[in-house]
Point group: C2
Chain length 415, copies 2
């Protein structure tokens, strides 16, 4: 079966200035068609290192894909390198030249030589037109192997992968079927889960593997199957997945590879209901998660981010006396925030959080990670105290996830 390696190019990846999201996207797209990615390598803008890494990975894989280093500036060395590597000369790719002219004309910007050079490609490659930018993609074939070079700009790269690379690879190769099944559990640790799953794991056929992916106080379990026969794979994997669901049933949140907010969103959509958030310490993070997908207006109406106490009083109409008596981080204030958000935003449910995210602002009574959460509908309110002990970013993420899980359970019980 063919395998692939992903090489991402750029000094910024090696000094940690940017996080490499490109190779995750490519890996996902390749895995979806059954092309196994063996390694992902990030190297700097260093000629010899790129050259050596290309040679190494070509020796071990059938397909090597490179992203980055195709820009118009001096630190972009991928194109001349590939031209030399595959014994070509730089020639103009006419459709790409026209593309550059069209883009700059539309933007009403002058076209300089540097821009037109973007349309040049090695004579030994098949050039791929960039529908989202100026630098063309390049497809080389040599000794039965395929080498692909794409721009590093994420939305350009993604367009190439989806519209060009995947269809071309499917023409060239027959892949093993690869499928994944993922479920999410909450309220149980990885070790404890592993104990309850010993027999299940032992019973899995050799072509199915299970992985534990703990994150945000929850554990995701993933089954991955690889088999030449797609029907056998799908049937066996479905069967194993059903067994797995039964074993973890008390802790099961969802049987899809989706985040907690999507579980909540789908529950709201099913019931044709809406939610609002009243956020202090999460600063709008929960609202942003709920609106990350198109169509969220069907279940999410809005939020009040009451970061300052005066906003809790003025906009969310929390009584001043409650804040004086109990503090802004208190069960009483959380309840007021949720109930007033429900009334003001006219939703079926509201969820509120008020807490200390750190690193500053903690007290002995209310240390960093101390968070009150309230959820309500028009008949009932429920509260929960969370205590986290991480850094600010993680405390915010955990607060959002735990609050959504609390809302989910409330909805299931009070619908």
């Amino acid at each position: 079966m063919p395998t692939a390696a992903i090489i991402t190019i750029g000094d910024e990846l090696l000094i940690g200035q940017v996080i490499d999201t490109n190779s995750a996207f490519i890996a996902q797209a390749f895995n979806a068609i059954g092309l196994q990615v063996q390694s992902r390598i990030a190297v700097g803008d260093v000629y010899q290192q790129i050259w050596d890494t290309l040679t190494d990975t070509l020796a071990k894989n059938d397909i090597v894909i490179l992203t980055g280093g195709l820009g118009p500036t001096a630190d972009d060395i991928t194109k001349p390198l590939l031209c030399k590597y595959f014994d070509g000369t730089l020639v103009t790719h006419e459709p790409s030249k026209q593309n550059v002219i069209d883009i700059f004309t539309k933007l009403n910007r002058p076209i300089i030589a540097r821009n037109l050079q973007q349309a040049e490609v090695p004579s030994t490659c098949t050039a791929l037109l960039n529908k989202r930018g100026t630098a063309p993609g390049m497809w080389f074939e040599k000794d039965g192997k395929i080498i692909i070079s794409l721009p590093g700009v994420p939305h350009e790269m993604k367009g190439f992968i989806t519209e060009d690379i995947v269809p071309l690879l499917l023409q060239k190769f027959t892949f093993n079927a690869v499928e994944h099944r993922t479920l999410l559990t909450a309220g149980v640790g990885e070790s404890f889960l592993a104990e309850t799953l010993i027999d299940f794991e032992a019973s899995l056929p050799s072509f199915i593997k299970m992985a534990y992916l703990p994150n945000y106080g929850m554990v995701r379990l993933r089954l991955t199957g690889v088999h030449a026969n797609k029907t056998i794979l799908t049937d066996t994997l479905n069967q194993s997945f059903l067994q797995l669901q039964q074993v973890v049933a008390p802790h099961l949140v969802t049987t899809k590879d989706e985040p907690m907010e999507t579980v909540v969103a789908n529950l709201l959509l099913q019931n044709n209901q809406t939610v609002a958030t009243a956020e202090s310490c999460t600063g709008g993070y929960m609202a942003q998660l709920l609106t990350a997908k198109s169509g969220s207006s069907a279940y999410f109406k809005g939020a009040v981010v009451a970061y300052d106490n005066q906003v809790k009083i003025d906009v969310l109409q929390v009584p001043v006396q409650d804040i004086i008596d109990h503090g802004a981080v208190s069960e009483t204030v959380a309840i007021q925030m949720a109930q007033n958000a429900l009334t003001q935003l006219k939703t079926d449910y509201a969820v509120s959080v008020t807490g200390v995210m750190g690193p500053n602002g903690g007290t002995p009574q209310k240390p960093v990670g101390h968070v009150w959460c309230a959820v309500c509908n028009k008949n009932k309110v429920a509260t929960q105290l969370f205590t986290f002990s991480f850094d600010r970013q993680r405390n915010i993420q955990l607060t959002a996830t735990f609050a959504f899980n609390f809302l989910r359970k409330f909805m299931l019980q009070n619908n």
Copy 2:
């Protein structure tokens, strides 16, 4: 000069299920002390591949750091592999055993054998106590090279790097001084910048490199210098950086490596002023960016996320007639949102956005990417129409960044 390689382990990295943020963090920490990272490699939970990658990278580097594969479950194979690779036997690390017992006692969970096994390490390593979890770190030395293995859980790994690994490396090695200077420009393309910077780039000494990092409609420029003499490096780099600032002055946003929202936050802090956001299409993303750092309550009071029109009317008091006459995505509504947020949240500035983020909801008059932004103080309001043509996530990010930039310019002009 010593160099390092980073190996991250886990099938989830090769199927693209998670994005590798660990290696960016490690790269940043290593670069900060002058330890150059030559490559970052992600490999699956496959014994032979981990073995081979370790051998390859050890041949080319002085320091190899591995993360992941140290959990308590069957797919975690890093520890037995390292035990074999460095000819050891598994022995209990007593402080780590006590740590496991303490953690489970505190959580009131039963301690099972699998948990105690977490405290076992190869006899050939120096074990490092995990202050944030159960799996200890491991430090091996062999033939003058150093091999470090850390858990893949991000906050555990980060603790180890900051508190253990960096101090230990500084004891062992003398590094070249490495420094970076980064500035941010807005409103000008990469090619155009490159043209204006030809002379500047040519004038740079050989130990200083410049990189272009375009993102979110802006271009970041980074100077990186490497030199044995820290004083020479700092002085020369400061001088070059001043020259660079002069060349790009008309487009300069900040001379620090910081995002746009931090530039806005610092401007507010300097002036002892506050801001509120009124967000429709960004769904709380702007508020969340402003509250990502501790201390944000000094400049950010809160937000109204008016995703649904009824919330614009009920909470932000946008006149119904304005929505009927102009539509929710309009200059008029953007102005109403900003001005009413300013009044209700009692801030010095307010910024609003209302637009179509896609992929659905566009019309010929107001296509996806069509966004109205308004910023105001008590005396003045200014508006701008943005037009983006990307996917939903990127449209949201660009809207936030452009709105913050618009607010920044408004503050500079109307303070």
